[in-house]
């Protein structure tokens, strides 16, 4: 029987997996998330309108030229696949003038790798006794070529007096060896050039440890033979501090028209198109297409202007991605309304009744909602668990740092600063406040990813709303709070969202409408009324008497929402067929 039990468990697990991911779900929650996320995205992008050039233009904070260079050249490394580690990158000076001088020397290296080493041979002699030989070498390099010839002759002749002082260790060498060493010194001087480059190079080589020195010689020897290739490698190294041969790849996988467009008029045109797309997405018109375009639009901005992007943009990108994948336009959208109109026209076709009954549950809606839920939990777990590693969260000072953050919190308001000052007068009160802030944050962020899957879900939903409202109020991160709460909507049962119009109906009344089905015009208007009746308020009564003209548009839940919108009255009239 163990086999049968195992198979049963397998099936149970498989079924649980299928139920979790593939049970068709009502897309109404996704529709509400679309409206909320669309509003946030629209706000963010509207706010860009006055800063288009400052953030995304050719002369933005990160200029187009710099952004393109970063996009195409940024080094990407991958760890070694085996145990063998790649050679440690060679350390070069950080001071620009020293760094530039050394790279100038490297650019002058001959094509032939053996010739490069020959030019550097004297370094080994020099570093046998760098203390006394460095001064000699520096003095020797300062001589003219003719003077150096004289010095060589004096050394070969063992002359008692020479132009410069030779170190003792040098004088003890056989004359032939000493002259050969000086020939090597000439080669090194020819390569290093005059001071101060020569000195910077020697300093650099001296300051490397033994392993790094050998590494530097290997680096020099292994530089490409071809001049252009070598120059590219050195230029890249000097700029990015990375050996392009050790990188896994280069550049970031990003796209945006702001990497290419320069003309202000074109920029404004693209931005206007983006705002239109985001608006259409928010109201849910042609959502299958506009959701993709809206996601692309969000990427355009996020990819181009890395220096001004923050947590808000990461979360907006996530939400827009999921709303693009899922059928977010299947409910609470203009698309849905249009489908209802088409269905009303097609009545009494069976499919039309089905469409008017409500959005069709879909597997994709469930997959999307599950992905949002899991992603939300991952965000919380990541930030919560990382906080647990931080000393300031353990000793509760993170609470003070959050409340007193000079650039984030409300402390730029006089009243807030004075309130904090009053609180801080009492150490106990402040400790209680900061402790509460920290404990609540940690409990929410660490506890929610697990406990939201239990019967405690309502408590954690309320807690999460409180957390993000607090962050929005105290730290001013309102759009961030709103987009996190949009993700949180994925945990709301669809029935809660679907029945939300009920509260509107309670304030209105059930509507009984009499119409003559034999009259085409009346029948069409009655069907239109059914299409607009998203809350099931209307009861159609086919009789000879017509009461269609007595229907108050504002008694319908859908139209009531338009009442305070600009042009809402006109639109309501049109929808009613007036």
């Amino acid at each position: 029987m163990p086999v049968a039990t195992a198979t049963g468990k397998d099936r149970e697990l498989k079924n649980a997996w299928s139920r979790f991911w593939f049970l068709p779900a009502d897309p109404t929650t996704l529709g509400l998330m679309r409206i909320a996320a669309g509003c946030v995205a629209l706000y963010i992008h509207l706010a860009y309108s006055l800063e288009l050039n400052e953030f995304f233009g050719p002369d933005a904070w990160l200029s187009q030229e710099a952004a393109n260079r970063e996009r195409l050249e940024q080094p990407i490394f991958a760890p070694a696949l085996g145990w063998q580690q790649p050679p440690e990158p060679i350390r070069f000076p950080q001071l620009p003038h020293r760094r530039a001088a050394i790279f100038e020397v490297l650019r002058r290296l001959p094509d032939d790798p053996d010739a490069r080493i020959t030019r550097l041979l004297f370094l080994s002699t020099l570093f046998q006794n760098i203390g006394e030989r460095r001064q000699f070498f520096t003095d020797y390099a300062a001589l003219s070529p003719e003077q150096r010839q004289t010095v060589k002759r004096q050394l070969a002749d063992k002359a008692p007096e020479t132009l410069i002082a030779f170190p003792d260790s040098f004088r003890q060498l056989p004359p032939a060896d000493a002259v050969r060493n000086l020939a090597e010194a000439d080669a090194l001087i020819a390569l290093l050039g005059p001071q101060p480059g020569l000195g910077y190079f020697l300093d650099w080589f001296r300051d490397l440890d033994t392993t790094q020195r050998f590494g530097a010689l290997d680096f020099i020897r292994d530089l490409p033979r071809a001049g252009t290739e070598r120059a590219d490698l050195l230029n890249y190294f000097e700029f990015w501090n990375a050996d392009s041969r050790q990188t896994y790849t280069r550049g970031r996988v990003v796209f945006s028209p702001w990497f290419h467009v320069k003309e202000p008029a074109t920029m404004r045109g693209i931005h206007a198109a983006v705002l239109i797309v985001l608006f259409l997405f928010t109201i849910g018109l042609w959502t299958r297409v506009t959701s993709v375009l809206a996601w692309l639009a969000v990427m355009f901005y996020a990819h181009r202007a890395a220096p001004v992007m923050f947590g808000l943009d990461s979360v907006v990108s996530v939400v827009m991605l999921y709303l693009m994948v899922g059928p977010s336009g299947s409910a609470l959208s203009v698309d849905r309304l249009l489908a209802r109109f088409r269905a009303a026209r097609a009545l009494p076709a069976p499919w039309a009744e089905q469409v008017l009954a409500g959005p069709t549950p879909s597997i994709l809606a469930n997959i999307t909602l599950r992905l949002v839920q899991i992603h939300f939990c991952l965000i919380y777990a990541s930030t919560g668990l990382t906080k647990v590693k931080g000393a300031t969260w353990w000793n509760h000072s993170a609470g003070w740092m959050s409340l007193m953050n000079p650039d984030f919190s409300l402390v730029h308001h006089r009243w807030y600063e004075l309130l904090l000052h009053t609180l801080a007068e009492s150490r106990l009160l402040l400790a209680l406040l900061c402790g509460s802030v920290v404990v609540f944050t940690i409990v929410m962020e660490v506890g929610l990813p697990i406990l939201i899957w239990t019967s405690l879900r309502p408590i954690f939903i309320v807690g999460s709303i409180l957390l993000h409202s607090g962050i929005a109020f105290v730290m001013g991160l309102t759009p961030f709070g709103l987009i996190m709460m949009t993700m949180l909507l994925a945990f709301f049962p669809a029935s809660v969202v679907r029945n939300a119009p009920d509260w509107m109906i309670r304030r209105g009344k059930p509507i009984a409408v009499r119409f003559n089905p034999a009259d085409d015009a009346q029948r069409r208007r009655a069907n239109r009324l059914r299409a607009l009746d998203i809350a099931g308020q209307v009861t159609l009564q086919p009789t000879a008497v017509n009461s269609m003209d007595k229907v108050d548009p504002w008694s319908l839940a859908l139209l009531r929402m338009l009442r305070w919108c600009p042009g809402g009255r006109w639109l309501a009239g049109k929808l009613m067929g007036g």
Binding site: I76, F77, L95, V253, P257, L321, L378, I379, M404
Partner: protein, 402 residues
């Protein structure tokens, strides 16, 4: 039961028109004199791709619709001008997505669900890889990030670890640009540009202010407290503290640890980020008839204050201390990043204080109630604080905060 779907044959004309747009872009690109036609080509490809997308949106259940999308993506890739390389990347990815969609649609339902499972697992694997991407990343996840997930995570802007205010809330940063103009008018000779400033925000929810708050962080994101070579340290020290000190000598910060007083930006920050920032500031702050002579840049850590300093808690002898407000000048720890011209080119040669902290200190007789510092007049400021940044930049006034 759902609304009857549109028939494929009715979609063919739309698909034809959409593909036609892309083909026209292709033809324009193949013309000998296609200079100046890059823009129209991109617009045509964009319209064509949207058209193809709308066809697919109507019948995502049909392999033919996905095949049209694959064709559209491939044509778009070829039709886009080389100068729009990032859009070629986009076209390539859209083609790949359409190809995967085509393969999934061809599968029976049971296998489609298996494919969906695979895609979900792959996607969530990527998110976990990104989340573990900061700090000590496990070797396996580091491999997965670099060799598998990086393109996907970057493309979808999900390459983030969500470490909001974690492991510890970091002190915010600012950038101060001291602009010197070439003008005989002493009143217009110097200007400070502080980033971010709340007054620069244009929207009611301060979103643009929070975006600007990230700008200094980008200059410091790329910074690293590197380990200078011995000769460099000697040079740093000799430039910073010359043997003969004149009246212009700026002391070290007496209260900050020595290791915190030198911060060397990474080469990418030095070569890419700072010159770009300086060029932008120069362009935004031009004054007619007064060309910019130089711009001094300071990256400023706006340090937190402890509650006991905030309330001016008395010392162990019961003597009251000065109250330090959140915008007290001494809470700013500025690092000098160099002097640049209006083109963002750093002033050549050694620069004595580059990358060193320039202190702003309270005078011993500074007023005890510094919470009111924001209403300080210039003269009171001078009486209360020693602002070496102001002296170093050659400015007459101080920066008003916040």
């Amino acid at each position: 039961m759902t609304e009857p779907l549109i028939e494929l044959r009715r979609l063919y004309p739309r698909a034809g028109i959409a593909l036609g747009f892309i083909v026209v872009a292709l033809v324009l690109g193949s013309m000998r004199t296609s200079d100046g036609l890059d823009g129209p080509r991109v617009v045509l490809v964009a319209l064509g791709t949207i058209g193809v997308g709308s066809v697919l949106a109507r019948r995502p259940d049909l392999p033919a619709a996905w095949a049209i999308a694959v064709a559209g993506g491939l044509l778009g890739y070829v039709a886009l001008p080389a100068s729009w390389d990032s859009f070629r990347l986009l076209a390539g990815v859209l083609t790949a997505v359409a190809l995967v969609g085509l393969m999934v649609v061809l599968l029976p339902l049971r296998w489609r669900l298996r494919a969906a499972t695979l895609l979900v697992v792959l996607h969530l694997g990527g998110i976990v890889t990104a989340i573990t991407g900061e700090g000590d990343q496990p070797w396996l996840f580091a491999q997965m990030w670099a060799r598998v997930y990086r393109p996907y995570l970057q493309f979808t802007n999900q390459n983030t670890a969500y470490h909001f205010f974690a492991p510890n809330p970091g002190a915010p940063s600012e950038l101060w640009f001291g602009i010197e103009y070439d003008t005989p008018d002493a009143a217009r000779r110097f200007a400070w540009v502080v980033v971010p400033k709340r007054s620069d925000s244009h929207d009611p929810l301060w979103n643009s202010y929070y975006r600007r708050l990230k700008i200094p962080e980008y200059a410091s994101n790329a910074s690293e407290l590197s380990n200078p070579l011995a000769a460099e340290l000697e040079e740093f020290a000799s430039l910073r503290d010359p043997p003969e000190r004149d009246a212009n000598y700026i002391p070290h910060h007496p209260l900050q640890p020595a290791a915190r007083q030198l911060l060397i930006p990474s080469p990418a920050t030095q070569h890419l980020v700072l010159p770009s920032f300086v060029r932008h500031v120069a362009l935004e702050n031009q004054r007619p008839g007064s060309p910019i002579k130089s711009i001094r840049v300071y990256r400023v850590v706006h340090d937190y204050i402890f509650p006991e300093h905030f309330v001016g808690a008395p010392d162990d002898k019961g003597k009251p201390n000065r109250q330090v407000g959140p915008f007290d000048p001494t809470t700013y720890l500025p690092y000098y990043l160099g002097t640049f011209d209006a083109q963002g080119v750093p002033r050549p040669g050694p620069d004595a204080l580059r990358w060193w902290m320039i202190p702003i200190l309270a005078r011993p007789d500074a007023p005890l109630d510094a919470v009111r510092f924001r209403s300080l007049a210039d003269s009171d400021y001078e009486r209360s604080f020693v602002d070496h940044v102001k002296r170093h930049a050659g400015s007459d006034g101080y920066r008003k905060g916040p």
